[in-house]
């Protein structure tokens, strides 16, 4: 369902956020970016990032060591 997927696994703060921002910049409003990360701090960080940028955090979940975020571009 995501329009684009970003593999941020193995990256530490603040790289998942910086890469996500870059990916979102290249997308169109309403499109969905899926981010996969292994940084446990990214759970709080993506929530904070989305709350201040107007992008919508559609889902935040984890499977084993992998965190998955779906972000709808504003």
């Amino acid at each position: 369902m995501a329009d684009q997927t970003l593999d941020a696994k193995g990256l530490n703060c603040p790289l998942p956020i910086l890469r996500a921002k870059k990916a979102l910049k290249g997308m169109e409003a309403g499109q969905v970016l899926e981010v996969q990360a292994t940084d446990p701090g990214s759970v709080a960080d993506f929530a904070a990032f989305c709350s201040h940028t107007g992008n919508e955090l559609l889902s935040s979940s984890s499977e084993g060591d992998i965190y998955r975020f779906e972000i709808k571009r504003s």
Binding site: C13, P14, L15, L18
Partner: protein, 167 residues
């Protein structure tokens, strides 16, 4: 001088960067790039020992001296460096190498990478004119993206900002 951000509702932040060692280079670049990613208009003012972070060729160093809280993970425990050991020739270089290896291993961005991200996200990078003069840096040693300014340039931005940090 007004730029478009002064007229809009964008939040603004300034950071005074005064330290240019491998460890202390991180907080300003991490906060600056993250703020920019969160649509904040960011200005970083590099002065004194922070100014070398704007050199074209970065060769960041580290010292263990005088840092009582510095511990490096090693074989499941943490090792601190007594000052008398840290003062020996080669120890700082070894510590810097160890830190760079850790940075790579843990997926932490390099300062080069963060500085590139700062440039890409249009963070204003201001080099302190007085520091350039004082330590005799040439303009062409520094990255092209550096703007030059002084205390008043910084103050004009800081007075309009929501967050001002000194690091």
């Amino acid at each position: 001088m007004l730029d478009e951000n002064d007229l809009g509702n964008a939040k603004q932040m300034t950071i005074i960067v005064t330290k240019g060692s491998l460890d202390w280079a991180y907080p300003p670049f991490i906060l600056g790039t993250t703020a920019a990613a969160m649509d904040v208009d960011v200005t970083m003012f590099f002065t004194f020992y922070g100014l070398p972070l704007l050199k074209k060729d970065l060769n960041l160093k580290l010292t263990t001296l005088g840092n009582a809280a510095m511990e490096m993970p090693m074989m499941g425990t943490h090792i601190a460096m007594p000052n008398i050991v840290g003062a020996l020739p080669g120890v700082d270089a070894a510590a810097a190498k160890m830190m760079k290896n850790l940075i790579k291993k843990k997926g932490v961005a390099s300062i080069e990478e963060l500085r590139e991200a700062a440039i890409e996200s249009e963070i204003k990078l201001i080099g302190c004119q007085m520091t350039l003069d004082l330590f005799e840096y040439e303009r062409d040693e520094m990255i092209d993206e550096m703007e030059i300014g002084g205390a008043a340039t910084y103050m004009a931005k800081a007075l309009k900002s929501d967050i001002n940090l000194f690091i």
